[in-house]
Symmetry: C2
Subunit: 131 residues, 2 copies
Amino acid sequence: MKLITRNTDYSLRALIYMAKKGGIVSVRELERALKIPRAFLRKILQALNKKGILASQKGPGGGFRLLVAPKDLRLLDVASIFQGRVRLNECLFKRKACPDIRKCPLKRELDNIESYALRRLGAISLAALLK
Amino acid sequence: MKLITRNTDYSLRALIYMAKKGGIVSVRELERALKIPRAFLRKILQALNKKGILASQKGPGGGFRLLVAPKDLRLLDVASIFQGRVRLNECLFKRKACPDIRKCPLKRELDNIESYALRRLGAISLAALLK
DNA sequence: GACAAATGATACTAATATAGTATCATTTAT
DNA sequence: ATAAATGATACTATATTAGTATCATTTGTC
């Protein structure tokens, strides 16, 4: 069970690299620097591009470029792209085994954990990861 | 992404049922009461049995019986059986993309979330779920 | 304009984890 | 003896995650 999938992980590595270097960076360069499979990285960066986090430039000398300020990009923003809503519970209640959802202490507790996790993920920025 | 898998979910339902009813309960009865596939439930209860949470009784009239006091059984105990260690991170560091693990703010943050979740899961008992 | 280097789009495969089924062996109450 | 239960375990199915492949398009350079 993971809070962060490889998509998110790779994204962060690439974003950190790009933030540190600045300017346009090609997938080929990222592959070399980060040892991440190129085709997979491309797919990931294309997704970040679609979300407006990166801009892309075709042709020779092209690549991707960070479009947002590191302090404005949250870990949660990235995770959400690949993992949808970060759901921590998915429990008893679907099949109505529980008489009253609103009162169930389990659901309340799991919701609590979830919202804590979301809050923390929403609080950490790319800038913080650059250190 | 789930904090709790179906194994754990079903376990809790069965444990709640058994705690409320008391005495020996057969899988057949649980299947009817909880609408959980019998073969799957059997496998789950056998696991709980091996862990000493349930005792089993073979033969006609047999079944499973709760062996621990509800207040002494933690949600974390159950989740751990099926989900191993509840890991929330599994990130950048395996492949040494990160220069110094101990300093990385991402790892620190993910560890923080993880330990929060573990603490909460370890704090809720079966007794609390009985309400 | 030709060409090569890049991304865009997208379909496909592989690996892993989760969920669930099936079956035969063993125990035990009647 | 029989049937009702669990013990053990191998197998299948489904979903999610990870990764590959390919063709199309754009664009800088000669």
